[in-house]
Subunit: 371 residues, 4 copies
Amino acid sequence: MATTVVTGAAAIRSGLLPPVGCVTETADFAGAELPGLDALVFGGHDIAGAAPMAKRAEELARAGVVPPWSPAAVAGELEDADAEIRVGLVAGEPGTLREQADRLIADLVSFRERRDLERVVVVNVASTEPPFPRRPEHADLGALESALAASGDALPPSSVYAYAALRAGCPYIDFTPSTGVRLPALDELARRMGVPYAGSDAKTGETLVKTALAPMFAARALAVRAWSGTNLLGGGDGATLADPQASRSKKISKDRSLTEILGHRVEGETHIDYVRPMGEWKTAWDHVLFEGFGGVQMTLQFTWQGCDSALAAPLVLDLARLAARAHETGESGPLTALGFFFKDPIGVREHRLALQYELLCEWAARLGARA
Amino acid sequence: MATTVVTGAAAIRSGLLPPVGCVTETADFAGAELPGLDALVFGGHDIAGAAPMAKRAEELARAGVVPPWSPAAVAGELEDADAEIRVGLVAGEPGTLREQADRLIADLVSFRERRDLERVVVVNVASTEPPFPRRPEHADLGALESALAASGDALPPSSVYAYAALRAGCPYIDFTPSTGVRLPALDELARRMGVPYAGSDAKTGETLVKTALAPMFAARALAVRAWSGTNLLGGGDGATLADPQASRSKKISKDRSLTEILGHRVEGETHIDYVRPMGEWKTAWDHVLFEGFGGVQMTLQFTWQGCDSALAAPLVLDLARLAARAHETGESGPLTALGFFFKDPIGVREHRLALQYELLCEWAARLGARA
Amino acid sequence: MATTVVTGAAAIRSGLLPPVGCVTETADFAGAELPGLDALVFGGHDIAGAAPMAKRAEELARAGVVPPWSPAAVAGELEDADAEIRVGLVAGEPGTLREQADRLIADLVSFRERRDLERVVVVNVASTEPPFPRRPEHADLGALESALAASGDALPPSSVYAYAALRAGCPYIDFTPSTGVRLPALDELARRMGVPYAGSDAKTGETLVKTALAPMFAARALAVRAWSGTNLLGGGDGATLADPQASRSKKISKDRSLTEILGHRVEGETHIDYVRPMGEWKTAWDHVLFEGFGGVQMTLQFTWQGCDSALAAPLVLDLARLAARAHETGESGPLTALGFFFKDPIGVREHRLALQYELLCEWAARLGARA
Amino acid sequence: MATTVVTGAAAIRSGLLPPVGCVTETADFAGAELPGLDALVFGGHDIAGAAPMAKRAEELARAGVVPPWSPAAVAGELEDADAEIRVGLVAGEPGTLREQADRLIADLVSFRERRDLERVVVVNVASTEPPFPRRPEHADLGALESALAASGDALPPSSVYAYAALRAGCPYIDFTPSTGVRLPALDELARRMGVPYAGSDAKTGETLVKTALAPMFAARALAVRAWSGTNLLGGGDGATLADPQASRSKKISKDRSLTEILGHRVEGETHIDYVRPMGEWKTAWDHVLFEGFGGVQMTLQFTWQGCDSALAAPLVLDLARLAARAHETGESGPLTALGFFFKDPIGVREHRLALQYELLCEWAARLGARA
């Protein structure tokens, strides 16, 4: 997905593509004083030995995710981003978690200084982790620091990245349902460092549609009796979610919205199936059984067929720009106005898409009004 | 549909059914000081020789629209409503339109006085008319009065009913896309009489879902390239709409919302097919082709399977109660806050369902705050 | 379902309903010399304390499965069938399995003699059992008889019923995916007794459509890459299949057809979800990803919305009549020509619906041609 | 579509692509003694000024219809085919129809002789024409010859091409619903010339699925009450069918199959909508309302999403090879065994897909058995 982000952003900056899918490029955000798309510089942490972006962009072009001409047209930008990729956490890496985090922090600081950047926003777009059990040290920053300095595995990788970002003074965005920044100790750190954060689990398909549709039933006093869903997806994310542990993280995150919007638990399973030949594409089918006047049962079904990277990539740009501006204007802690982008927004219980959008726009107006 | 309204309202009042589908029975309207469901008295105009409500309720029970036990359980209320049904306009009726309207007015006033009612709300739930060409006398009340007093057909039946309602001091609701009250001369009359009105064309299916979903595309900056829809419906409404002229009224009304929400005309046809064996049921299939980041084309499809009367009937109760309270508090002219209920709301351009609901709730709060 | 069978058959015999859904009432079976619908007498084994058929028929009428007038119209037939219901196997029943089977056999023989019937066909319409592990004694009739006579649980209930039916000289039909008659030892018994049998797992929904559609892909040389399915069902069957063990039996049976028709295993999961509020209804959504000329990926989706009892009941009548005629003409062992009715036909590998129908018709013609 | 045919055939011959979608490459046709794919030479008639195939192949690659590498890989074959393209009939062309036909005949004969071909099969893949009114001269070859020799427009273009093909001794295939060879006078000509022909209107989507599914309802004695369909298509074919006259040809052809299979006319409309942004893709949604045991109404819906050229192109190869072999073995007149490929097969009333496939395979076996 990172390759889609860089390729697309470069093509938009060069005027080769319109900014379709970029929320922050619409009129509602014109006054928010966000950093321009052309002010962004890309870098990141990746696993060792990952293919260069140029090669991955060509694969994406073959799969129809980015235009066929685009890898060549933005070759320079891809190379530039590649040069800023460092090796991330490695399973079985020696040293304490604090030592590992220090390496990540050094990379972030070096990137910011070498490239003379005002700030760096870290976005976690890694594969989904299984749920990580809560521990006492997650509740308190002091205790967490001690645990990180000792040997042991006090945090899952996503949270080590979050810790490193916050320590380096970088806003942090959880694009996945992994634990990440969602711990009281890390919230404490973010506030102490004066750094904002947001998450978690970007909504780009089934849940996006659900949070647009469920309020309709609520507003019309129609009683939803069951909401069942099946998600078919290929690609890397599909393979990760074929692991029942990882998909458990995802399902927990997906189910929350319905309960919040309708005010009660609703019957119905959510399936996530890995269908390898679907490649970059995902399909969600949802079946809603609801009851109307006189107890009559009726149904709504929808089928969403989307390209995962194309849906997610522009949101990375949106979130990075919004978080950067929030940081610039002095916000710290959870950015609840970003709930619009997430399946399981941190720090806020509003899941209705239209109202989330209103909150986002109002906040964007306030961002613009600040110095 | 009138039979479903009376049957359902009686069953709810007696505690035999929960008020599912009644918007005004939810917590958001608890403080609006609306007339109670048990304060409502039903009457109406119908074609001569229509079957009694008891018989129609049994047909509805057989079709699964109302519970099988309900016709017997509410027999008294059905009989009571039947006794208040008068013959409406008759094709080829002698006399000027004003004379015909006077007969309707006398019926309305007699109903109000005999039953000692505070007010009567007239809801047009007749079959959809073909579009009626605009005439100069539609623009001005004085000219319209002269035309009605002369022989001729200055107004379609729906507008004669609207004229009569307003003249009788009754709030008027257009549940259909027919011309009805939607004329400058009738707006003038409503304001002069101090009577509120609303319309038009209740949204109970495809358009309801459309206005919940289309804002999602707009908010996410996804470019809708085509929105195609097919509506299959049986029942009386289906037969009427099998007439291309009548269905033209419906299509115009259905298409407006998308253009307003997305800000531009969108390609795609809307079909309305009469499928007799579907009886009281309707099915809508919509196919949305949209473009995301990098120009990737994706699709959303939905299938809505609903029972027309069960979807529409509770809205009649909601609209009657809200219009009655508006009248009581002195509002006149178009009730724009009722846009939530209509495909083509009069006097307001907001079509996004969630925002319409917000406007409705805010207005309900104001209604409650008044004396 | 048994109640639907008896109610429907009685209504058809009385001319109150057309024989829609009855394969054997079509022209293709006119010459097969099948017993008439009015020659059928109903009885059965049920759990102790089951509600009388009259009561269940009323529940079915309320749920829209049988016409509202039908329970009253066929009250006599329902009472007649009720009088022939005996208590079946009881969990924890004392005695050896052979002793239990002897009780069933006595019931069958008594039914045949008291009612002066030419033959009795036993159809297993009980809830689906979990898969039962194969044992050495399943392979040989002698060994099985010894095991039944000893204490122990050599057979699951469905197979005890099958054993009893065959021993009583009754053709046996497996309507479910339970083990039933599908054991070499029981095949040996059937042949020795000169009794035909058939099964298993009636196809009435998703698999029916699959076996109509999959041959299309094969014949057109289109490469099916993945076939995913989700089944939502309420009712008794849904509750049983909510148990992962029981649904495993069902899934094994459902998956076989695709492999046989396409000639290779196909990716894709099949989900069976219990959705209680769906009552007697079931919905299947299938998503087929296939590849055409030049490697282009395309999709077919279908949604099947059916009433389980209404789909299954007429097949019980068809199977009983066909098995009765087969028995009359001297057939014994598996009736492979009945594969048309089953998800996992015994004794034959043809799963293509159209060819199964051809085989059935050819066999019906042969049945008719015999003495 | 012609470009897809040539590109795909060349890629398959070179081993660059597997022959997915080619019916005649499956095991069932191994013994039919068909000409090999590498024995085919491509040429054709096109409108003047059409873009060269190389350019069109690149457009197809960009649209994802042929693999991105294929235009370069088969550049030689595309050039070779381009060199054999001649200008076809031109609207308003001077001369009698016979003179115009003579020009086409000369092209065909020259192609056959210059390239030293055993035979040429003509496949009409032009845009669909509006229905052409029947005339007396269509019934008799002598009368037709006179009419062609006089000035006037006795035949639509598709039939002039058919006439020319037959006169040149070339088998003729109608891939479209245009009039083409479907006239008694042309049948007479074909038989006199000893030339086989087939048609019409290749089934590649909605109708293909319909003819696989409709027999299921018939075989199960389920009563189809309404079958409604909506087809969304872009591309050249979509634009042509946006013309109500042309789409009338298509609808007539599409509707026939259902009536034939179910034995009666079925309610329900078929819509064909041109949705320009869909490009090469088409989507069909069908809604089937059917009745089962006890009069219960149920539904089946399907959505077919296909790439038109990728579905049609391999059939052109199949039909050319089968027609060539039929010609070689001396068949003339309508090739009824090719009904499998057509929405409205000439000379045969069997529309059930599975049985059509059986007839085709049996015929293929007979073709192989001949000298």
